[in-house]
Amino acid sequence: MPVRHPGRWLAVAVLAVLAAMFVHLLVTNDAFDWAFMVDNMFRPPIIEGLLRGTVLMTVSAMLIGVTVGVVIAVMRLSDNPILRGVAWLYTWFFRAVPRLVLLAVFGNIGILWSRVEFGVPFDTQLGQLFGIDNLHLRLFGFSSRDILTGFMAGLLGLALSEAAYMAEIVRAGIQSVDGGQTEAAQALGLSRGQTLRRVVLPQAMRVIIPPTGNETIAMLKDTSLLLYVPVSVELFFQLDAVGKRTFQIFPMYVAACLWYLFLTSILLVGQYFLERHFGKGHGTAGRARLRLRGMTAETGGGGNSGMVGPS
């Protein structure tokens, strides 16, 4: 006798009805105005916003974030108490301040300095000590308005905040590698840097990649916060602007959902291949991946979007 699953059939029936209702809504409700949406969601300013403000920003912020994050993680695990302290302070600050607030702060940092200059610190004060007035020992400088454009300010805010999250992810990854691995590498005569690069980090990657994928997806979505810098060459800003100008708000919001769904799906494919690459040598990868998925669902992107809220 085959096993019967009446519950499953009931569930299928319920879902079928719900799906039919949803399709009915999409087709019959005029507020969607699909024709308008399709006509407008590919306009040049929107595509430019998508490429620069969303894609380029995500890639740049993640590159800087991962790099700085690895450095902070290594500092955090160092024997040197000063490095450990600095790393802790960094992580504490950038995880405590919401991304939205951080972006507003970086967007307005030009209020503090009209020029950003590099040279001897406290030069005027030192000059005063030796009786020289207005001593300026500066090598080069930029006007804040030139260097801290909306894009740069937004990039700085997103990248520095990302580095704090990545530092914690990388630290967890490094700590997940068995101590025997470091000992074996040291016993062979590898230096600390070689041990980290060749033995520890490649193994830590298996733990680091899945939450980093989540972070990248969260970053992609958080680029919509650039509105608060403000950065106008950005996907959601542009879609929103079209909606407000034409009083066709809802189609443009649906377009935003579709664009973000599309971009996120591409990232998911990339994540799959990265995980497969770094799972090398782990025969039970399937089980391990299941376990990892469970872990990241609780830690990775979850804490992040929780802090930022409107992402």
């Binding site: 074996a184 590498a185 062979l188 005569g189 600390r192 193994q203 090398k280």
Partner: protein, 269 residues
């Protein structure tokens, strides 16, 4: 940098006397716990020295001091005439820099109880990683030598296998090949068969016997009395952080002089 103040050097640690390892009053404590309470040991070049003793006797810790995986609190260890981990200047010991310690370790191979193979690399990659990375060998010739080493430990057909696809005994043999790839003067074995299923112990011991026959200097922490008796040139019995007795393995195993040695041997034989 930690500095130890020690009495002026006594006796020559000279390599020409045929000594590969010489330890003098080695002390090691983990916090308040004193693990080694003044270990003296001499191992001649080409000799196989077996360290025996109950768990917690400090034998593994002592082994790890020989390649400076543990820093000693007092005393000295020389390997082939080189003071390990420190430089002596004006009666004071200065800790060597990380790079110098790493250089010293290159001539000392170590095999761990839990293999510690690099799981993300194949058997062959495990073996050639250090020689290639440290510029000892070009990749092509390292691969050739690595394959020959794996052949020697009976794994010529497992070059491309990842550690996770190998049995414990096979993994430990890869680990031995990995250590040998650096062409060490001395091999340290830290309970190399303790994590193995009983039927896999033999294959690892066979490789070690083969090494001993080839004249490799070896210090082996082990519970394999049979191996110690058959292959060992000297046996050192440790308990409570001190050397209780030492001598020719057959002698010590057949006629232990000390009560603690007797009690231990009665349990393991």
């Amino acid at each position: 940098m930690t500095e130890l103040i020690v009495p002026a050097q006594t006796g020559a640690p000279a390599a020409e006397s045929g000594l590969m390892v010489r330890a003098e009053q080695v002390h090691k404590a983990f916090g308040p716990l004193e693990v080694l309470k003044g270990i003296d040991l001499e191992v001649r070049a080409g000799e196989v020295c077996c360290l025996l003793g109950p768990s917690g006797s400090g034998k593994s810790t002592f082994l790890r001091c020989i390649n400076h995986l543990e820093k000693i609190n007092a005393g000295r260890i020389w390997v082939d005439g080189d003071l390990i981990g420190y430089r002596e200047r004006g009666g004071k010991l200065h800790e060597l820099r990380e790079k110098e310690v790493a250089a010293q370790r290159r001539s000392i191979g170590m095999v761990f109880q839990r293999f510690n193979l690099f799981p993300h690399m194949t058997a062959l990659q495990n073996v050639i990683e250090a020689p290639v990375l440290l510029g000892r060998d070009r990749k092509a010739s390292a691969r050739e030598r690595g394959a020959a080493l794996l052949e020697r430990v009976g794994l010529g057909d497992k070059l491309g296998a990842y550690p996770g696809q190998l049995s414990g005994g096979q993994q430990q043999r890869v680990a031995i090949a990995r250590a040998l790839a650096m062409q060490p003067k001395l091999m340290l074995f830290d309970e190399p068969t303790s994590a193995l299923d009983p039927e896999l112990v033999g294959e690892v011991l066979d490789v070690m016997k083969d090494l001993a026959r080839d004249g490799m200097t070896m210090i082996v922490v082990t519970h394999e009395i049979g191996f110690a008796r058959e292959v060992g040139d000297s046996l050192v019995f440790m308990d409570g952080g001190v050397v209780v007795e030492s001598g020719a393995p057959r002698e010590v195993i057949a006629n232990p002089r000390h009560d603690r040695t007797k009690a231990f041997l009665a349990k393991v034989l």
